[in-house]
């Protein structure tokens, strides 16, 4: 596609502002501790962007993105854990050279399926491949049978529950409920120092932009338009000659890939991975990041992830009771009063007034799928 069809001037401004916020503004006003927190929030943004494609454009609500986030995260954690469990570091264990939790659970050697994770290349490949394979299997089984909507959402939720129970139950192999912790170095580079975390913040930001460009490409391509058509009039699209299942599988897998990358970056940024990021509760929280930011906007999804997580950290420290009430209220408010999220509020309420004040005519934008009354979007 041409450069102008890839990114309109409005899009370009949006991307530029986000870049400024992430790479210039936040680092200059935050200390290294809080910047590290925002680095964590950025990893959630990967999932939110995936959901903006999958759910916002494609109409596929997945309540199990934690599964993919976790799978990617665990792959990276396994690599880092093996690196940290050298015989010297683990000399006090009964079996040196294996991760500590395996030793505690009386395992005497590394399970076969852990072995490939000695290699960073393999781990990086697995971070994307494992979630995508899972997503493909689930997607293929469901979409070719035309299962969608609420049924699909519940089944993804069931998978989130299944994986959590499995991870917690298999302590010896997965670290159980504590997860995989005490990660130290990535190919010798210590990831626990402040400098490392700051570097990782910028790496996260850069990687997020790569993901955003991919998402933008998909949105602007014919496939992007097709997703929206399928979301609103699935049957009609079949009669235009499209095998709808294939497209749903594709976008679901893409969302899974993004989530997996986010999970891996989370492991690096925060230094551990645990089942608390895999289950039903974190998965549905990831949906609210996207919903608050604006499910129809990939940039909005990023802002949503940053904002909601910042609010969560701020409020749950100061007013823990209020936070849960607030989060619950947020779900309800977004659904009932601003379904297109903050991005929707911006484009429907603020931007037209801004343009009017600046004296510019309203743009008759064939905005992909954003129906104007902010109370009746499609599912």
């Amino acid at each position: 596609m041409t450069l102008s069809s890839f990114m309109s001037r409005k899009d370009l401004i949006g991307f530029a502002i986000l870049a400024a916020v992430i790479f210039l503004i936040l680092p200059s006003i935050l200390d290294s501790f809080r910047l590290n927190l925002f680095g964590k929030y950025l990893t959630y943004a990967f999932v939110a962007v995936g959901l903006a494609l999958c759910w916002g454009a494609g109409g596929i609500l997945s309540l199990g993105q934690g599964v993919f986030f976790g799978l990617g995260g665990y792959c990276m954690a396994m690599f880092l854990k093996l690196e940290a469990s050298t015989p010297e570091n683990t000399s006090i264990q009964s079996t040196p050279g294996i991760p500590d939790f395996m030793d505690w659970n009386q395992l005497t050697e590394l399970p076969v399926w852990w072995q490939p994770f000695y290699s960073l290349t393999f781990a990086m490949f697995a971070v994307v491949a494992v979630p995508v394979v899972f997503a493909f299997i689930i997607g293929f089984a469901m979409f070719t049978r035309r299962v969608g909507g609420v049924y699909f959402a519940i089944i993804t939720q069931a998978f989130a529950a299944i994986l959590t129970i499995l991870i917690i139950g298999q302590q010896g192999y997965t670290g159980g409920v504590n997860g995989i912790t005490d990660l130290r170095t990535l190919l010798g580079w210590d990831i626990r120092t402040d400098e490392a975390k700051t570097t990782l913040y910028f790496v996260n930001g850069a990687l997020l932009f790569v993901v955003l460009f991919i998402a933008q490409y998909v949105r602007k391509s014919k496939l992007g338009r097709l997703l929206i058509a399928m979301r609103d009039q699935e049957d009609r699209v079949r009669f235009s000659g499209y095998n709808v299942a294939n497209f749903k599988i594709f976008i679901f897998c893409l969302g899974a890939a993004f989530a997996g990358i986010g999970g891996a970056m989370f492991t690096l940024q925060v230094g551990f991975m645990s089942p608390t990021l895999v289950g039903i509760v974190p998965s549905i929280e990831m949906v609210i990041f996207c919903a608050v930011g604006g499910r129809l906007s990939i940039l909005g999804a990023v802002y949503g992830a940053l904002l909601v997580n910042w609010a969560k950290t701020t409020f749950s420290e100061a007013f823990p009771e209020l936070w849960l009430l607030g989060l619950g209220g947020l779900f309800i408010a977004v659904v009932m009063f601003f379904p297109n999220g903050l991005a929707g509020v911006w484009s429907e309420k603020i931007e037209p007034r801004l343009l009017a004040m600046l004296g510019k005519p309203k743009t008759h934008d064939a905005k992909a799928g954003a129906t104007s009354p902010a109370g009746a979007p499609a599912e």
């Binding site: 049978r145 959402a153 089944i155 129970i165 139950g169 549905i284 989060l327 209220g329 309800i332 659904v335």
Partner: protein
């Protein structure tokens, strides 16, 4: 695994796990019935269903304390009053929620899902603030404690039998309501053709509200029953919500008989497996099998009517 036990022992194990499974089945049934009414008949996903159940449990707790403090002589009968109050409390909350939130979201099932999740968070927090974060135990009247020995090896807990009887009677009651009563007919009419139902004079608004209320009320009664097998806490509702949804979906949401059959098979499978595998693996395996079957047969295993 199986080789450790003799045949009569295995039989007894299966039987007792079977009974344990029956109690689980009863809880599933009570929760799933309420959900099936709401989801199967109205297409509404209520992710706060567990919290409606817990409300019933908390009401039972309050009633039991009330009787223990003020009317100890009548304590053995308190449970029946508690169930009625649980039904009314959860039902009333259901009416309120339908009026305030659900009725605006009927055409948007995915959004209802998210909004009711938000409601569940709010309710959990309210329970935490009012009743405390710790779990509360409900004292059972004397006649419900203990077990009935059926044979030498098999003993059945009395409260379990009580819960099962409860589940069966409520199922029959719901069945009668849905298929024999005026209200049930109206609900089915609306389900099939809302516009026409309205045109022939059915007050669709109130029927919807009542349906949702009754579904929540049944969940409240489930909560009462639940107090006998688990402790009640603000997050206890979350324990069963995924199972309950799977039970409803697996049973082919539109069919009450399917719901019963599905609740039975899932609870039995899990219960029997629990004895031989660790608790978590039994759960994982059961869920995997259910989801696996759903992936192959999305309309549910027991869908009675197959359209198109």
């Amino acid at each position: 695994m199986f080789a450790d036990y003799s045949w009569p022992e295995l039989g007894a194990i299966f039987a007792m796990q079977g009974f344990a499974g029956l109690i689980l089945f009863s809880v599933f049934v009570l929760m799933a019935l309420g959900l099936a009414i709401i989801f199967g008949q109205m297409g509404v996903i209520n992710m706060a269903h567990g919290e409606f159940m817990i409300l019933g449990a908390y009401v039972t707790y309050l009633v039991s304390n009330l009787f223990a403090d003020y009317m100890p002589a009548l304590f053995s009968g308190y449970f029946f009053l508690a169930m009625v109050l649980a039904f009314l409390a959860s039902g009333a909350l259901g009416l309120l929620v339908e009026w305030g939130m659900i009725r605006h979201l009927y055409k948007r099932p995915l959004d209802t899902l998210l909004a009711t999740w938000g409601l569940s968070l709010i309710l959990q927090q309210i329970y935490r603030s009012v009743f405390g974060a710790r779990e509360v135990g409900v004292s059972i009247p004397d006649w419900m404690m203990g077990s009935l020995p059926i044979t030498d090896l098999i003993e059945v807990p009395i409260n379990g039998i009580f819960v099962m009887i409860l589940a069966v009677s409520i199922s029959l009651g719901v069945y009668a309501l849905m298929f024999k009563s005026n209200w049930g007919r109206q609900v089915r009419a609306i389900n099939q053709n809302r516009v026409m139902a309205g045109a022939v004079g059915i007050n669709t608004e109130w029927t919807d509200r009542l349906t949702f209320g009754i579904g929540c009320g049944v969940a409240g009664v489930a909560g009462s029953a639940f107090t006998m097998i688990g402790s009640t806490g603000p997050t206890a509702g979350q324990l069963y919500i995924v199972d309950t949804f799977l039970v409803v979906v697996f049973g082919g949401a539109a069919s009450l008989l399917g719901t019963l059959a599905s609740a039975f098979s899932i609870s039995q499978a899990q219960s029997i497996m629990e004895f031989f595998l660790s608790g978590s693996m039994a759960k994982v395996l059961t869920l995997l099998v259910v989801v696996g079957i759903l992936m192959i047969r999305p309309q549910g295993l027991f869908a009675m009517k197959l359209r198109k």
